[in-house]
């Protein structure tokens, strides 16, 4: 064995009023001659070592200093010595060695239990150590409580507190608990000894439930497993189900681009016309509407160059006049639409049709046209006389687009009654020159603007009766102008009305290609009646030109009346109608 010297194990003051020092004797004490060990102490301001005043009170190998010997904030030094030797020495001050006694009188009370009776809350109370004068405040103590279940090994700690009671929550009523408390001075760090263990048992007060011993744990594992299985089954059943609605609800289809109203099958089958018709409903789709097919019906235009259409109005080309725009290679082929009513199938028609180039089309050929047209007109004159009149009356209300002048209505009425001689009103203002079926009551395509609009002219009602009483002879009916002004005609009629009879007028009519409106005839009639029918006042041209606004191809045409803009001064408004070239100047 090793030799152990006597040592001062500790010096302790429980309440800062007394203190004790403890030492160990060591083992050589037995080996050698018994020695007497003394504990000497000395205050810092003293010189002599004094012996311990009390060796008994604190037990063996201890020295007890009572209150008279204790100066709290005074530094002490003690030493363990025998007669000659000093075994150990220690210096301290009393306020540093304060270790309070453990609290006493531990007890617990039940606060409440849970509804299931499995858990309960208790409150533990104790008293401070009796030696510590806590009441006067000489010393301030902190307490630390520790508890555990009976068969556990590790203590649970609560944080130190100043109060002498503390609640414990959520203790299992089926188990027993152990509680212990220790204290320390508030300003120091070392705790004193633990108190005695307090046993907590719920069954003693009749609360513990024996059948609650098993612990009900939530079966998380089972929940997860069953949840996953159920979800998988649901998803699979939805995927496999035939019900499209449910499928669409869960897995909505991704929308594909689609144009309203168009069935994709149409495009697949190649029914372009229907698609075009549908698309035409939309305003921005105009291009393919006026395709070449429409033209072919009436006129075969040798237009290989698509720019031709855009460059000049078709009417110019068709009119085949001197002032035609050049190299309009027009092969005019007559169709039978006008021919049928006119009957003679053997009327020679010069077939100008040429899909091949007809630059060779000379002006002579162009000049031929009016003559032929005259014949056609004549043909019409003869044949359509009977038809025109009734039509006059019938189609009167059909006029849609006139800016009604009141004076127009007057002549109509008497005219329908009184006119006996049918006055042909040949309507030749057509772009399709060979379609001679129409009278002025038919709206015909008068022009196609470069913008692609089709301009219709239902009939020229208005006249510009500027030239009033001029002589017919002064008029120069140029043959190249296929249209004669009504006003001119009217003037002639008016002038010659008194002298000449109808045949004169008829003669006049033969010479001209202009057309009469019933108004002019009315004027004529009125003149015959020796009543000076005042010539129609100068009017502004009626907005007889209509333009196609919207083409609902299967449904019809929506015509839009366009007010004829006031023509310029230079515009020769002597005519009751405007020739197409003049029209082009004013139409956009």
């Amino acid at each position: 064995d090793l030799l152990q010297w006597p040592q001062i194990s500790k010096c302790r003051s429980p309440e800062m009023e007394t203190f004790s020092c403890y030492w160990t004797a060591g083992n050589f004490y037995n080996l050698t001659a018994p020695r007497i060990i003394q504990l000497l102490y000395k205050k810092s301001n003293e010189e002599d070592w004094k012996e311990c005043p009390d060796y008994i009170t604190s037990g063996q190998n201890s020295c007890y200093f009572n209150a008279s010997y204790t100066s709290v904030w005074t530094p002490y030094c003690v030493q363990l010595a025998s007669k000659n030797e000093v075994y150990d020495k220690k210096c301290f001050s009393v306020d540093e060695i304060v270790l309070p006694d453990p609290p006493v009188h531990l007890n617990w009370t039940l606060l409440n239990t849970s509804q299931t009776g499995i858990h309960g809350d208790i409150q533990v109370r104790w008293d401070p150590p009796p030696t510590a004068d806590v009441r006067k405040g000489w010393i301030t103590l902190e307490y630390e409580l520790q508890y555990k279940e009976v068969n556990e090994t590790k203590w649970k700690e609560l944080k130190p507190r100043l109060s002498t009671m503390v609640p414990l929550y959520s203790l299992k009523t089926a188990r027993d608990y152990e509680i212990r408390i220790r204290s320390r001075q508030r300003t120091s760090e070392k705790f004193g000894e633990f108190s005695e263990i307090l046993y907590v048992s719920f069954s003693q007060i009749g609360i513990g439930c024996d059948h609650c011993t098993e612990e009900v744990e939530f079966p998380w594992f089972l929940v997860v497993v069953f949840g996953v299985c159920g979800l998988a089954v649901t998803v699979i059943s939805i995927m496999l189900s035939k019900q499209p609605r449910l499928k669409m609800l869960i897995f909505p289809p991704v929308p594909v681009p689609k144009i309203k109203g168009i069935d994709p099958d149409l495009l697949k089958k190649g029914k372009l016309d229907e698609v075009n018709s549908i698309l035409a409903c939309h305003d921005n789709y105009k291009t393919q509407l006026y395709n070449d097919d429409l033209w072919v019906e009436f006129i075969e235009l040798d237009i290989e160059d698509p720019d031709e259409k855009n460059r000049a109005s078709d009417t110019d080309r068709l009119l085949s006049e001197d002032h035609l725009k050049s190299h309009g290679c027009l092969g005019v082929k007559d169709d039978d639409s006008g021919r049928a009513s006119c009957c003679e199938p053997d009327i020679p028609e010069t077939d100008f049709s040429a899909s091949d180039t007809c630059d060779a089309t000379s002006d002579s050929d162009q000049f031929k046209k009016p003559t032929e047209k005259e014949e056609d007109l004549l043909c019409l004159d003869r044949q359509d006389n009977d038809e025109s009149l009734p039509r006059l009356a019938n189609t009167d209300p059909q006029r849609q687009h006139r800016n009604t002048q009141s004076e127009n209505s007057h002549p109509w009425a008497p005219f329908t009654d009184s006119v006996e001689s049918p006055r042909p009103s040949v309507h030749t203002q057509i772009t399709n020159q060979n379609s001679l079926t129409s009278t002025d009551f038919y709206a015909q395509v008068s022009d196609i603007t470069p913008a692609g609009r089709v301009v219709l002219s239902p009939g020229q009602k208005s006249k510009l009766g500027r030239a009033q009483r001029e002589s017919c002879t002064e008029q120069n009916f140029t043959m190249d102008n296929t249209y004669f002004c009504e006003a001119d005609v009217k003037k002639c009629i008016a002038v010659t009305s008194h002298e000449e009879n109808e045949p004169h007028v008829q003669e006049q009519s033969y010479n001209e290609d202009g057309y009469f409106t019933t108004e002019s005839l009315t004027t004529t009639v009125a003149n015959f009646g020796a009543s000076t029918a005042e010539p129609p006042s100068s009017e502004m041209p009626v907005a007889d030109y209509t333009s196609i606004h919207i083409v609902h191809s299967p449904q019809g045409l929506v015509l839009n009346a366009t007010a004829l803009p006031v023509p310029d001064k230079e515009f020769n408004v002597s005519c009751g109608y405007v020739s197409t070239d003049q029209l082009n100047k004013i139409m956009p």
Partner: protein, 137 residues
């Protein structure tokens, strides 16, 4: 410690026997005695590079607390007696002026301060118990 020369009760019985005025006087003296050395110590500590910042902040915190305590005690002393204030301040300043405080090492300084603060705390508690009789001291 520079305040070792002060006669202060070192035991509970002695502290209880002293009249209240004298006890407050002592407390005030201690405060005043420690006021100056603490400020010096603060400045001294700030220049200490080897000390961690925690110590520095703690030291400043403590000095501020001491100052507040002193102010509080002075006010409470004013309630009790005005005459004692002057006496305490003179003695306290006399103590503080001494060079002993400046010659102590840092650890001794801290040790002394701790002891005296503990002393003041105990005295204040006894004083509190005696002023408010409902605690049945």
């Amino acid at each position: 410690c520079h305040t070792s020369g002060m006669l202060t009760p070192n035991g509970k019985e002695y502290a209880q026997k002293i009249p209240r005025e004298e006890l407050t006087h002592l407390i005030l003296k201690l405060y005043i005695a420690w006021k100056e050395p603490l400020s010096h110590f603060n400045q001294h500590i700030e220049h200490h590079q080897e000390l961690p910042d925690d110590s520095l902040s703690k030291a400043k915190q403590i000095s501020n607390m001491v100052h507040e305590l002193k102010t509080g005690v002075e006010k409470s002393m004013g309630i009790i007696s005005n005459s004692l204030n002057g006496m305490a301040s003179s003695e306290g300043t006399a103590l503080s002026i001494r060079n002993e405080a400046n010659m102590m090492s840092d650890s001794d300084f801290i040790h002394c301060f701790r002891r005296d603060s503990n002393k003041v705390q105990s005295y204040l508690k006894i004083l509190k118990c005696r002023i408010m009789p409902e605690n049945s001291c």
